[in-house]
Symmetry: C2
Subunit: 457 residues, 2 copies
């Protein structure tokens, strides 16, 4: 029986004989008693197994070491001890797989760096046990939100010969034998698997737009890749993104959805993972739960990029980077703005020159209908835009940005065949997990992170 | 308002003024009336828009062409016409985006090959509208099943330097400049992004096992890649897989889960997508719904590979390939066996020489605890195995298969650190969609399929 089911239905199982399978997380031995801190990974709570020397196997059981897998039978009873409501009065314990003293995950404090090196064992620690369960629950919350709201889930392609942003460092995908390429002295893409140069996707948005114009509301949720050579706490080279796209939707309605989905997901996790969230609040980010509850109650602010620069210029703060009207804002500016508004802020209408070609040009001819959501403590959490639906304007933007129009043939045709205003946004899944758990390094919210020079497991 | 909400709550909206946004799927014009077959893609059902010449814009509305996007206002009423229960008595229609006569998706019969070339428009046809919505609903059903049953969703890595099967043709991932490689005459992996050769994953199973030994029950659901140069109806080079992995689970319990999840998903789709399923039953595979209902009621058969060969050898059928005890079975054999049992068949205990190194060796020393699920009409739908948990046996298997033990360091250590019996299986997501929809070509169940020489969009 899963501990999750046991604790969820404790009244049903009280004073009943049950069997559980899992691992020894701690083992306290006394002369006539033993206490095993037992976990099976189906929930954050552990079960205390209590055994005494009336058991024939008492000495054997006392020899079972930390990390071992066991099958335990016994009666599930109310606990008279402190620290737990229930415990298992053991009738038998079978050792399934033992665990040597060389086991790296001994019950002591390990550095995060050490745990990263032991990525295949770290989900057995309390912190990572909580992180990766919350990651799973957040993923499910996202699916549930969009499915319940009539969105179709699109698997946009991973290998692609289009490149959404028209920029960005990409990974190449090939079946060419590189040794042979080196020997032959030339690269012949007609011999490559797709007969041309292919890369890993940086975004499924353009393909997402094609489906939004058939289903009205779609979302993607899949891996994306950037070959950026940056070793920061917030960059990984393989990460998951959610990219909703909505037809007949302008930037304001887009922001409504962004706010709604974020609140939904946060509430879902607080409801479903209370013990994990308390753990994060206690050991990872003090005040985490308050922060999230405050988010739920807040109405997100909406200001333009110009207003933001106005505020920053008037600020009684010496910034490292001077805020400028036509330019992007820095991390310190984001921080100031979320503190200024004391809550989440949508910053809209960004200078066109620093944003992508597909964003809708505003009437001022200087800004585009783009939006970034900034949240206190974490900076940018989502980014979106209304898409340029006017064919002539879109073509001009492509020309102005020195891009190759012929690569966007099907994308442009979408504007001709029953086109309509539409908007969408992207959620960096790992950034969201970091925000919700308080974990500050992206390497610690990805099961097996890929960073420059690191592709272990 | 979404048509989905409108039809789900038709009583609430009857005789109310509403607004809908979507596309003209057909337009019948009469002298004093017009009928627009309208769809917004949020459900398979269309809404009939009825307008008459009392409207000021009557002539203008009559000019709106097939494929155009519109916003329609009017009263939602019971229909007196045949073919629909409700209709919209139009008060106004705004043309949002028109659609030229050159629009490729004219309302006539197109070949599947033509529609594949127009992959970005084909979800606007009834068939693909249904296929990709069902794909989305099946994906959700899978998440819901596993989440409701205490599984943790694992994002196993996409870029990897391990290779699960120890074989298989893989795509290489690189940031090396191939032109420079050609010019320099040598391949220097120390200059590549991960400082070594990296490929796209063919399976997340091995990483999945690491998480199963921390969470007891996990599943992956992500893209996988095979660089096979085969142009068949059932092969794509990029496809999605679900790979559950369960600790303390033997092959029999593994089959219980396989049967349970398949029935759950089939029932979920029949419940949630009745109109789509009726469409497939009528136009794609006659008898589809009966086939699926029969599956739901059946108890899956369980036979060994040896028993299967016995049956095939006794069969009163001339096979192209002779069935042999130590060998794999052919498509024709699968077909015979599912017909013989008149239902789904689990074939277990396969010859070890044709199966992967990680499958648990049976006591006969000749077979492994592997299982394939064969279903009538579609052949193999899932495959799984109990994993070899005995370190010495596993090491011997790796040696016997001439594999490099050092590449499996962490995988082997899992057997040392509180190891236990565990099992898992893989579901080819596209094969499942083909089985459920009756669509016979894998290119038609993937939004943007990748096949040899084809990486469009």
């Amino acid at each position: 029986m899963d501990l999750k089911n046991l604790f969820d239905n404790s009244k049903k199982y009280i004073d009943k004989d049950i069997q559980v399978e899992g691992w020894i997380r701690n083992h306290r031995k006394q002369k006539e008693f033993g206490f095993i801190d037992f976990s099976d990974g189906t929930c954050f709570n552990h079960l205390q197994l209590v055994y005494d020397d009336k058991l024939e196997d008492f000495d054997k059981i006392q020899s079972y070491s930390f990390g071992s897998s066991i099958i335990a039978n016994g009666k599930f009873v109310k606990s008279e001890g402190k620290g737990q409501d229930y415990e298992l009065k053991v009738s038998s314990i079978e050792l399934v797989g033992d665990c040597p003293e060389s086991y790296p995950m001994q019950p002591k404090r390990h550095t995060m760096e050490f745990l990263r090196e032991q990525a295949y064992l770290r989900p057995r620690t309390n912190l990572f046990q909580a992180v990766f369960r919350v990651r799973s629950v957040v993923a499910y919350a996202i699916h549930k939100y969009f499915q319940d709201n009539n969105y179709v889930y699109l698997h946009s392609p991973i290998i692609t010969c289009s490149d959404c942003e028209g920029a960005g460092e990409t990974f190449q995908v090939t079946t060419l034998d590189l040794d042979r390429v080196a020997k032959s002295g030339k690269v012949d893409y007609s011999k490559d698997f797709f007969n041309k140069k292919a890369t890993l996707t940086v975004s499924g948005q353009l393909q997402g737009e094609t489906f939004a114009l058939a289903y009205k509301k779609i979302y993607t949720f899949g891996p994306t890749f950037r070959a950026e050579n940056s070793n920061t706490k917030t960059h990984a080279n393989e990460f998951w993104m959610i990219e909703p796209e909505i037809a007949f939707c302008d930037l304001d309605q887009d922001m409504d959805v962004m706010e709604d989905v974020l609140k939904y997901v946060v509430k879902f996790v607080l409801d479903k993972c209370p013990t994990e969230m308390e753990f994060f609040d206690k050991f990872v980010e003090k005040g985490l739960i308050d922060k999230l509850n405050k988010l739920l109650k807040s109405k997100f602010n909406r200001v333009t990029h110009k207003e933001v620069i106005d505020i920053l210029k008037k600020a009684d703060t010496k910034f490292e980077f001077e805020p400028k009207y036509g330019e992007d804002i820095a991390r310190e500016h984001e921080k100031y703005i979320t503190e200024y508004f004391d809550g989440p802020v949508f910053i809209t209408n960004w200078p066109k020159d620093i944003k992508a070609f597909y964003m809708r040009l505003n009437d001022d001819n200087e800004t585009v209908a783009a939006v970034d959501l900034e949240v206190p403590g974490s900076g940018e959490l989502m980014g979106g835009s209304q898409r340029e639906e006017r064919l002539d304007v879109l073509k001009q933007r492509i020309k102005d940005m020195d891009m190759d129009e012929s690569s966007y043939d099907w994308y442009l045709k979408l504007r001709e065949y029953g086109g309509c205003k539409h908007s969408g946004f992207g959620i960096g899944f790992e950034r969201l997990i970091m925000y919700i758990t308080g974990v500050s390094n992206i390497r610690d919210v990805i099961p097996y992170p890929r960073t420059p020079g690191n592709c272990d497991y």
